[in-house]
């Protein structure tokens, strides 16, 4: 039986990692991920979790340790944020290339400079192409659930890839909320013991991570592209199995009052919850607005996006990061790419909001919906909008 308790999301995530019986936690504390690592350290020290806790000297070392422990067949977890994720960057590419099913929480935070400890998505967007499964949560419940799910998906022998569970720093990580804390028996029923496809073993020596000469490198990249793309099937399947046991269903693209919408807005992460309030207010005034909430970022759920868009004439995309000197919003860029080959495609209006912890309020979404209706009237997309910019 699950118990509904009031708990800080970070603490709940650490408890979830404990329920998954992780063998190794190698992490370096960084705001706003700190409470997760602190709590796991306590759980190990107090004997509540039988795991090796490796207090490394940097995130580069954290991910290096994770690759090593995952390679010997240990269920491995780490967590980081912003500069820490950036410091891991080099090693992030190694894990999927070696098929190491590491699970990592990322409390999303702006990358400096100027120095910012506050939330946006510039950290994860810089690691879009590292080859990990990347999923986004809107609240603490989702962060707990998808952490448990992440181990199951990562270790699925059809996948055997690392999974990054993203949630917004402070806005989710430090929120005390009432959530259903899964029970150990339920987690056990959902998550079988880790059986690695291959592991380092002195009795059966192999070399993991050898040099890939030019004659082989292209083939290795095709393997990664194939595996990450094909992980979509197991993702949907395991989310379905999660729902059977825990009664909470997650989808690659979530929708809210989108069926008959005249304009749609797409968000990723915690702001989706504020956006739903804004949708309710506009609906109460008779405006047919709706919401798409992108949950799965890699592999990108192209078909779900197209299907949920239907024939809507205008789509707004809210980004939480900027691709400088490029197409402005990384999510909008992806969405536009997905739509290019379609004969019928909506006008796409791009917004960038909530950079470096700036609040995105219901009134901001209200203004975005106004802009979407204006685009519907004119049939034209305005230049990308930096929401709330003082001009």
């Amino acid at each position: 039986m699950e118990k509904r308790i009031g708990i800080e999301a970070s603490i709940a995530i650490a408890e979830a990692v404990g329920l998954c019986d992780a063998d190794v936690v190698a992490a370096y504390p960084i705001t706003p991920q700190t409470h997760i690592v602190e709590h796991l350290s306590e759980m190990v020290a107090d004997g509540h979790l039988d795991a090796a806790f490796v207090p490394v000297e940097s995130e580069h070392s954290a991910m290096s340790v994770c690759c090593g422990t995952s390679a010997v067949g240990a269920r491995t977890y780490t967590a980081t944020s912003a500069q820490g994720l950036a410091l891991m960057h080099e090693i992030l590419f190694i894990a999927p290339a070696l098929r190491l099913p590491i699970v990592m929480s990322v409390a999303n935070r702006a990358l400096s400079g100027p120095i910012s400890i506050w939330n946006d998505h510039s950290d994860v967007m810089s690691d879009r192409d590292v080859g990990w499964v990347q999923i986004f949560c809107e609240n603490g419940q989702e962060a707990v659930d998808l952490t448990i799910w992440a181990f199951r998906l990562a270790e699925d022998p059809r996948v055997s890839l690392p999974v990054m569970v993203n949630f917004d720093g402070f806005i989710v990580s430090h929120m005390v909320e009432p959530l259903f804390m899964p029970d150990r028996e339920m987690v056990k029923a959902f998550l079988p013991p880790f059986q690695p496809l291959m592991r380092l073993d002195v009795d059966k020596p192999i070399t993991m991570g050898p040099v890939g000469i030019p004659d082989i490198f292209t083939e290795t990249k095709q393997v990664q592209q194939h595996l990450l793309t094909q992980s979509y099937g197991p993702i949907v399947e395991t989310l379905g199995e999660f729902a059977k046991i825990f009664k909470r269903q997650y989808k690659p693209v979530e929708t809210y009052r989108a069926d008959d919408a005249e304009v749609l807005l797409l968000t990723m992460g915690a702001i989706g919850e504020t956006a739903m309030t804004a949708v309710d207010q506009r609906r109460a005034r008779g405006d047919k607005v709706g919401l798409l909430r992108l949950r799965l970022w890699r592999p990108f759920p192209f078909d779900d996006l197209i299907e949920n868009l239907g024939k809507v004439p205008v789509l707004g995309v809210v980004d939480r990061a900027i691709s400088f000197g490029g197409p402005v919003g990384p999510v909008a860029s992806e969405v536009k790419g997905a739509l290019y080959a379609r004969a019928q495609r909506p006008v796409v209006v791009e917004f960038v909001a909530g950079l470096g912890g700036r609040d995105v309020n219901v009134s901001d979404f209200d203004a975005m919906f106004d802009a979407l209706f204006e685009a519907k009237r004119s049939g034209q997309a305005p230049a990308p909008v930096l929401v709330g910019l003082r001009e």
Binding site: R99, D215, Q222
Partner: protein
Amino acid sequence: MAYQNARPKWTELAVGTAVIHPGSSRATKTGDWRSARPVWTNERCVKCGVCQIFCPEGCISFQADGYPTADLDYCKGCGICPHECPTGCIRMQDEVE
């Protein structure tokens, strides 16, 4: 494994492109990287074995007559053996000669 099969397809690679059998270095002949080979002048060689000790490839061995020779399947022509040879009996000969 990474290189032992001749030009494997992407579907034929081991999980994570691991090398799954020991001894792959022996099967992977890397001597074709070489642009010059070591040549010994045995009259000046004192069979001290310094060349063998310093060879990073471990490809120098002693023949029946006691003089050293390099296994050209693996020698990359790095030039360390002539640099270290105390009697100066080794010279590097360009592969084009």
